[in-house]
Subunit: 221 residues, 2 copies
Amino acid sequence: MHRHHVSVVEGILDANDTIASSNRADFAAAAVTVVNLMSSPGAGKTTLLERLVPMLHGVALGVIEGDVQGSYDGDRIAALHVPVTQINTAAGFGGECHLDANMVRSALGGLPLEELDLLIVENVGNLVCPAEFRIGEHARAMVISITEGEDKPLKYPLMFHACDAIVINKLDLLAHLDFDLDLLRANIAAVNPQAEQFLVSARSGEGVAAWRDWLLTLLGC
Amino acid sequence: MHRHHVSVVEGILDANDTIASSNRADFAAAAVTVVNLMSSPGAGKTTLLERLVPMLHGVALGVIEGDVQGSYDGDRIAALHVPVTQINTAAGFGGECHLDANMVRSALGGLPLEELDLLIVENVGNLVCPAEFRIGEHARAMVISITEGEDKPLKYPLMFHACDAIVINKLDLLAHLDFDLDLLRANIAAVNPQAEQFLVSARSGEGVAAWRDWLLTLLGC
């Protein structure tokens, strides 16, 4: 009796991780550091980037903007003379609520990767699914606005757990809210004690320099 | 030569719509009106419900709470002596970023459906995917906080287009924001001219009675 030999492939990467690895290799070849920036809709990712741009003296920034549709954020960044590629998930990607490695890969050809030091990928506004898809990034950062409530790390733990830096935004509104900043910070620390926390107001610019310094450390500056 | 006859089934419902129809039949049998309530994380859905409860004189309310994990919102509603069933999408539903008809169906057994007049389903905080899944509801409402920015209807049009009522929340913060309320309202109207807009502060209770009256109209009151 003939028995077939079955070869077992273990530790196989899923398609997303395979493509993320290719992205990562391209980033290494171009010597560009890539940060995946995530948050709820309206937490202030784009405003934070607008504040960051004039603080990046000598560091060449590029941005990939992820939205379901439209280029509202991309237009704001392009107005600052930063190279931007817009991904619309509604255009050929099924209206997905997140970016994945393949979408990011499709956007890389539109950027002068070799000329960049830092590439920030502004993900679709969503506290759930973007955290599930690696895109080949070197680090992950998220923005949480204090108007969203202290409970968000406990309700969306995967996102808070997945990020290396957590930017607490809209501090300028603190006096006008019933908000316990210490409780938010403790809830973040409970879910992710390793994450660095930054207190900022993207509106006023307060605290953004400290986050900029964290980015520069990623670049080895 | 024998030719097989192929029968073509057209207009077939997908699994979600099939289950949503079953939910709808159960709601009809119990004479309960069901509203699917959606928003970004932290827009104020639960606070809005807390304000609504004491305004519902004589109307029997039940709530289904949808979260990835935890029962923080459910506990807040249960404290008001409202029957609540919590759905955690991380528990058996793959950590999904939205509720679907099957999840809602699994929660119905935990509620005294025959005793309710109104069932509000507080969906997972997300401006994208919840709008794609019918749950058998009679109407859809969403909350948009003015801290999220005027551009959200244009960036997340499916959600705004899918809703019958759009509750604009956190009006108490208007004086402290660089926010153009007329522009938000115009952007909503551009995406969904039929939607009724309500201006509220769930924090102060201002304007919530008008939304309550919209709910009562759904009930035929």
